[in-house]
């Protein structure tokens, strides 16, 4: 498995509608929508979100690696969603993780950095 690299971006918790309309700035930003009110903008350096009480924090607490989907499926006990692009969330090899599935190609395996070593040992 490729090394899990630290991911950098902005984490935003805000009203869902405001988050829907958020304007992210940065290099090749990929927005992972963890929940209706919670998103991680990978590569984002700033964000405009129309919610004065939004929580916007620099985020370095996640790691990730691009993998062929087949390499990940072997470690799932749940079925991947069929729609693309999408974010799937669940246990990968027993470790809480997320999978960003773009329109085509490899999947981005994302996990909290606290799980990185264990995940790398299990998904080899």
């Amino acid at each position: 498995m490729p090394a899990l690299e630290r991911l950098r971006g902005l984490r935003v918790v805000a009203d869902p509608a405001a988050l829907d309309a958020a304007r992210w700035r940065g290099d090749d930003v990929t927005v992972l929508r963890f929940a209706p009110d919670d998103a991680l903008g990978l590569g984002a350096s700033s964000v405009d979100v129309d919610d004065e009480h939004a929580i916007v924090e620099p985020e370095t607490g996640f790691v990730g690696a691009w993998l062929p989907i087949d390499a990940v499926v072997a470690h799932l006990e749940w079925r991947l969603p069929t729609e693309r692009p999408t974010l799937a969330q669940g246990a990968v090899a027993g470790v809480p993780a997320k999978l960003w599935l773009p329109t085509d190609g490899d999947a981005l395996l994302v996990a909290a950095a606290a799980y990185a070593d264990e995940l790398a040992e299990r998904v080899r």
Binding site: R6, R11, V13, A14, D37, D38, H53, A54, I55, E57, P58, E59, T60, G61, A93, G94, V95, P96, A112, A113, A114, Y115, A116, D117, E118, L119, E121, R122
Partner: protein
């Protein structure tokens, strides 16, 4: 076998090879050679309880017969390091998704499979005779099978059980002799060319096996040296007994449906076909002898259990253990049912079947499962490099000590020390209704906490029981940071989100636990160290500021869990190593050293600080902890208030208190005695290097609460807490 060479033919099972050699695979009993009984169990290649009739003989196989009267010994394994990462999985698991899983490869199973295939369905046949033993059926439905190459998990839309029928075992005196075989076993042995000597058949004779058939009712077997020499039968009309000499007695006593898997499936979509679906007559009720060969349960034992009131099949099973052994009722169930029916006039339904239906190893059971994942802080490798002994606590790997917990303790009490508290729960809450939210959630006042200040708080549930504790830190009018115990952050986040939704409040929540590292800088020289690191104006007690420390952006919180001045530095996880190393470098001449959990627990114990989850129970209230001061009953409403108000009027016989005692610290969890009665238990224990005696925290559960108790055989004194610096001068210094 047992250290001797045993020859075998290519198609032999271990059991057949052993019988061919003139021996018995176990200490006796009727061999079925079909995997239904426990009479051929032996240790094979180090694994005990293997059904040798289902294990193929091969060169080099090591077979050790089980002891006659005792359980086989557990395999010797080297001492385990429970703190080590578990070994990689050794048992492969294959998964398959099929429309139909047919269990059993006999005529009815093959017919069912063919019918399903004709209907265009995908089918798998799981046949024990081909080495694929189904051991469990779970909801899903999922069928779990053991195969020669590992475990097989089949997700099937439909399951067909075609497992056939098992032969009835004899229950009479002498049934544990060797030389007894069922009719089918005799056929198999004969077909394999195994000589049976003088063979006598009782009941339905085997097909094609030379044997002297004797009539009458089976009475007993006679033998010597553990081997059968004769069978005694009785004329059903006159009762006259006939003794017939025999080297082998072949028993055709009837069949019972092999339905354990069908019973295990419960309401799952499942069809039973063939003999497994047949309602077959029970054997005559047994009157004497061993009913359950696995555990040696006799007819007399059943009678004793019945006399004690265990007059239902499930109760009789639990009381006598008949049916709980390795064969899971394969041998005894028909007899026990018949025995009950003779007493009640009603044939009881077979007892519940649960996975696994056959013995499997722990490795097979655990195949394809993962141990709970334990998180690592960003400083994990730093701890290892410093020689820390790591242990799991609150869902995290944490340093227990760095080789000298006492030196770590003194570094905190007299100098400066750093500890990794990255594991603490850290939530950010923000919104116009956030004060209202927190006032409702916490039993302390929140609105009067000024920005830049903080307050310790308990978190209660509706029953007034302590769920967690931590700090409330106000950053602005509408934004707070909340801290929780290491194991409590996830629950706390759900708790907040649930109530926000229930109450319809406008507040956002973000769990930063795994995004922020945290280092606790504590000791009388902590402030000196932080000023060296660039913190020009450290906050005063219960204050907090955002500032750079050693160039790292930190949220600096002044509080104390150790009893000394302490500053928690919350910072981005990608900067933790940099900050940790900088603090160690800058504090080198101050004698800085890191402290682990062992020292931390001792330090907090001297201060009498509670650790929720370790000291508390599910129904611990603030009153029981002696922490009424953390609850403002003058607030009009908060979660748990009504329960606290109601129970405050009731006597309470539990208190969490301090104890002191000379000598070494007793084991945590030790019982607390008053006279001849256990009145509580120790939750925290530490021999204080500073005070020179043991200090403890623990529960008293009998009132009036005694002043003197006995712990670990020694007198202990109930003592007020904190044991150390009760006025809190050092923490505020």
């Amino acid at each position: 076998m047992d250290g001797r060479l045993v020859a075998f033919e290519p198609s032999d099972s271990v059991a057949v090879a052993v019988v061919r050699a003139g021996e018995a695979p176990a200490s006796g009993g009727t061999l079925c050679l079909a995997g239904d009984c426990g009479n051929c169990l032996a240790q094979v290649d180090g694994v005990a309880y293997v059904r040798t009739c289902q294990a193929a003989a091969r060169p080099g196989l090591q077979v050790v017969r089980h002891p006659v009267l005792e359980m086989p010994p557990l395999p010797a394994v080297p001492a385990l390091d429970i703190t080590a990462t578990p070994a990689a999985r050794a048992i492969e698991v294959r998964r398959a998704a099929m429309d139909v899983a047919v269990i059993g490869g006999g005529a009815s199973g093959i017919a069912a499979a063919a019918a399903a295939e004709r209907a265009g369905k995908t089918v798998v046949v799981l046949d024990a005779a081909a080495g694929v033993e189904v051991v469990a059926i779970y909801a899903g439905p999922t069928v779990i099978a053991r195969t020669p190459s590992g475990m097989l998990h089949v997700d099937a839309e439909e399951i067909v059980v075609a497992t056939g029928a098992a032969e009835i075992q004899p229950v009479c005196p002498g049934s544990r002799l060797s030389g007894l075989v069922t009719a089918r076993a005799a056929e198999a042995l004969h077909a394999a060319g195994v000589g049976l000597g003088t063979a006598v058949a009782v009941g339905s004779p085997p097909v094609g096996v030379p044997a002297n058939a004797v009539g009458g009712t089976l009475v007993r077997f006679e033998g010597d040296g553990g081997r059968v020499r004769a069978v005694v039968t009785a004329d059903p009309l006159t009762g006259a007994e006939t003794t017939t000499p025999a080297d082998t007695v072949i028993l055709g006593l009837g069949l019972a449906p092999r339905d354990v898997l069908a019973r295990m499936a419960g309401a799952l979509p499942l069809t039973v076909v063939g003999d497994a679906a047949e309602a077959m007559p029970l054997p005559p009720p047994p009157t004497e002898g061993i009913v359950c060969p696995c555990f040696g349960v006799t007819v007399e034992d059943l009678g004793g259990a019945w006399a004690r009131g265990f007059t239902e099949l499930e109760l009789l099973k639990r009381s006598s253990r008949a049916g709980l052994g390795p064969c899971q009722g394969g041998a005894c169930l028909p007899h026990v049912r018949a025995w009950i029916a003779a007493r009640t006039g009603v044939v009881p339904e077979p007892f519940t079947a649960r996975p696994a239906s056959r013995q499997i190893t722990i490795a097979e059971a655990a195949a394809d499962t993962y141990v709970d994942v334990f998180r690592r802080t960003p400083l994990h490798d730093e701890h290892l490099a410093l020689g820390a002994r790591m242990d799991r606590f609150g869902g995290w790997w944490r340093p227990w000590h760095y080789g000298d917990a006492i030196a770590e303790y003194w570094a905190v009490r007299e100098g400066v020390s750093i500890g990794d508290v990255s594991t603490l729960g850290k939530l950010v809450v923000s919104g116009p209704d956030v004060v209202e939210l927190l006032e409702r959630l916490y039993p302390c006042n929140v609105a009067d906490i000024r920005p830049g200040r903080s307050r310790y708080a308990l978190l209660l549930n509706e029953r007034g029981h302590v769920m967690d504790d931590g700090m409330i830190l106000r950053e602005s009018d509408t934004r707070f940071v909340l801290s929780f115990t290491s194991g409590g952050a996830a629950n706390a986040e759900m708790w907040l989100r649930d109530w926000i939704e229930v109450w319809g409040l406008r507040a956002h929540v973000l769990d930063r636990t795994m995004s922020l590292g945290a280092i606790n800088v504590t000791g009388p020289l902590a402030k000196t160290l932080l000023m060296r690191a660039g913190l020009a104006d450290p906050p005063r007690f219960l204050g907090h500021v955002h500032a750079h420390v050693a160039g790292v952006p930190c949220h600096v919180m002044r509080l104390s869990f150790t009893g000394e001045a302490a500053f928690e530095l919350h910072h981005p996880v990608d900067r933790s190593v940099e900050l940790w190393r900088a603090l160690l470098d800058l504090g080198h001449d101050l004698g800085i050293r890191p402290h682990g959990l062992q020292a931390l627990f001792g330090l907090r114990l001297e201060k009498g600080h509670v650790i929720v989850g370790m000291d508390t129970e599910l129904d611990t209230t603030p009153r029981r902890l002696g922490m009424d001061w953390a609850v403002r009953m003058d607030k009009p409403w908060f979660i748990g208030r009504a329960a606290l108000e109601r129970t405050a009027k009731l006597p309470d016989h539990r208190r969490w208190v301090g104890f002191t005692m000379d000598g070494p610290a007793p084991t945590e969890g030790s019982p607390i005695w008053s006279g001849r009665e256990i009145v509580g238990n120790v939750t925290g224990s530490w021999h204080s290097p500073l005070m020179g005696h043991a200090v403890m925290l623990g529960w008293l559960r009998r009132s009036p609460f005694p002043d003197l108790v006995e712990i670990d055989g020694r007198e202990a004194v109930v003592s007020p807490t904190p044991f150390y610096d009760p006025e809190g001068h050092r923490a505020r210094a």
